[in-house]
């Protein structure tokens, strides 16, 4: 190991614990937010990021002539916000969130480097930590530009992010505070 988290200074272990606790809390709220605005099913994700998210009927390509459709709506329909991420908002989201995700993955990777685990397991965890946000955003873009079926990639990215965090948090907490050598 590059450094040993188990036998590190109390301040380092305290820092890592607080970081993991803070990140865990933000992830819980992140999951809540996903539930509110995008959903956890492929259908909901496709509706949020897909090209046809704001339309009654999904339409991938612009029609040859402008089409007008009319349907009765209630006051509640107009008030109910159907959250949809269009291309411009996705550009902004990607620009804003990717650096933050990189910092989170890097921080969790630094903690991983201090774990007493086989080298290959360390490599696998670090790969997972960075692959998760890539999958998440690649999925969003593919859902937008390719097919709504790519919504599964967004879900896989989200779950991979949670899995990476749980693995690092569980191992680090156990090794720092219980399994001392």
């Amino acid at each position: 190991v590059l450094y040993d988290l188990r036998n590190s200074d109390l301040r380092v272990r305290w820092l890592a614990t607080l970081f993991l606790a803070t990140l865990g809390t933000s992830y819980l709220f992140g999951a809540w937010m996903v539930g509110l605005y995008a959903g956890f099913s492929t259908g909901k994700v496709a509706e949020t990021y897909g090209a046809g998210g704001e339309m009654a009927m999904p339409m991938q390509m612009p029609p040859d002539t402008t089409m007008v459709t009319e349907r009765p709506v209630s006051m509640a329909d107009m008030g109910e916000e159907q959250h949809h991420v269009d291309r411009d908002l996705l550009v902004q989201d990607t620009h804003v969130h990717m650096p933050m995700y990189a910092m989170i993955a890097a921080s969790l990777s630094v903690i991983t480097l201090g774990l007493a685990i086989p080298r290959r397991a360390g490599l696998a965890i670090i790969t997972l930590l960075f692959a998760a946000p890539w999958l998440d955003f690649a999925g969003m873009w593919l859902t937008k530009l390719g097919s709504p079926h790519f919504a599964i990639v967004v879900l896989a990215g989200g779950w991979a992010m949670a899995l990476g965090y749980v693995i690092v948090a569980a191992l680090a907490t156990y090794q720092m505070w219980w399994r001392k050598s």
Binding site: A51, G52, G53, E54, M55, A56, M59, P62, P63, D64, T65, T66, M67, V68, T69, E70, R71, P72, V73, S74, M75, A76, D77, M78, G79, E81, H84, D86, R87, D88, L89, Q92, H95, V96, P99, M100, A102, M103, A106
Partner: protein
């Protein structure tokens, strides 16, 4: 370590603050389509050619090619139309509701959403009477709200007024070109 801290600070600075509702959509509908009893959503799925026309007119086109007008009717007579318009900037999105009467004159504009950061700037621009400058304008008239309030507000509220002008301009161009 230094670059790590710098990166984290930069990421935090770039983060867009959450969106807050300034006026509920239902309240905006009630104010901008007063007395309407029935509503229809008129969705315009723009062709590439019409998207280009709109872009040529105001330098904007809906990213997903769809503009939705909500039409209000009273006793089977159209009383007006309303469109929700989003304007993006580096501080996040603003959502406006722009209402037109049956002749196509602007009945009113409401800012329905802004980000936490933008809210005080928007409120300052509104207190300076920004919305009064749109009321009664024709849909062909260039909005000039920012010009009117800028001498009385700070730089950021002035910038918000420019963004609101832009949203009104986009909505009016869509109304003028495609609303039948």
């Amino acid at each position: 370590m230094k670059s790590l801290a710098l990166g984290a600070a930069l990421a935090a600075l770039l983060h867009i603050t959450p969106t807050v509702v300034l006026v509920k959509r239902q309240d905006a509908v009630a104010r901008l389509l007063p007395g309407a009893e029935q509503f229809t959503a008129r969705e315009l799925h723009l062709s590439s050619q019409d998207s280009r026309r709109l872009h040529d007119a105001v330098g904007w086109e809906p990213p997903d090619g769809v503009i939705t007008f909500y039409v209000g009717k009273r006793q089977e007579q159209v009383s007006g139309a309303l469109v929700f318009m989003r304007v993006d900037c580096q501080h996040g999105p603003l959502e406006l509701a722009i209402g037109y009467d049956a002749r196509g004159t602007i009945r009113g504009v409401e800012v329905t959403k802004a980000t936490v950061e933008m809210k005080p700037w928007v409120l300052e621009a509104l207190r300076a009477g920004l919305m009064d400058s749109y009321r009664g304008n024709t849909n062909a008239q260039a909005p000039a709200g920012a010009e009117k309030v800028k001498p009385r507000v700070g730089a950021m509220p002035g910038y918000m007024a420019e963004l609101i002008d832009k949203g009104v301009m986009h909505a009016s161009a869509a109304y003028r070109l495609f609303y039948r």
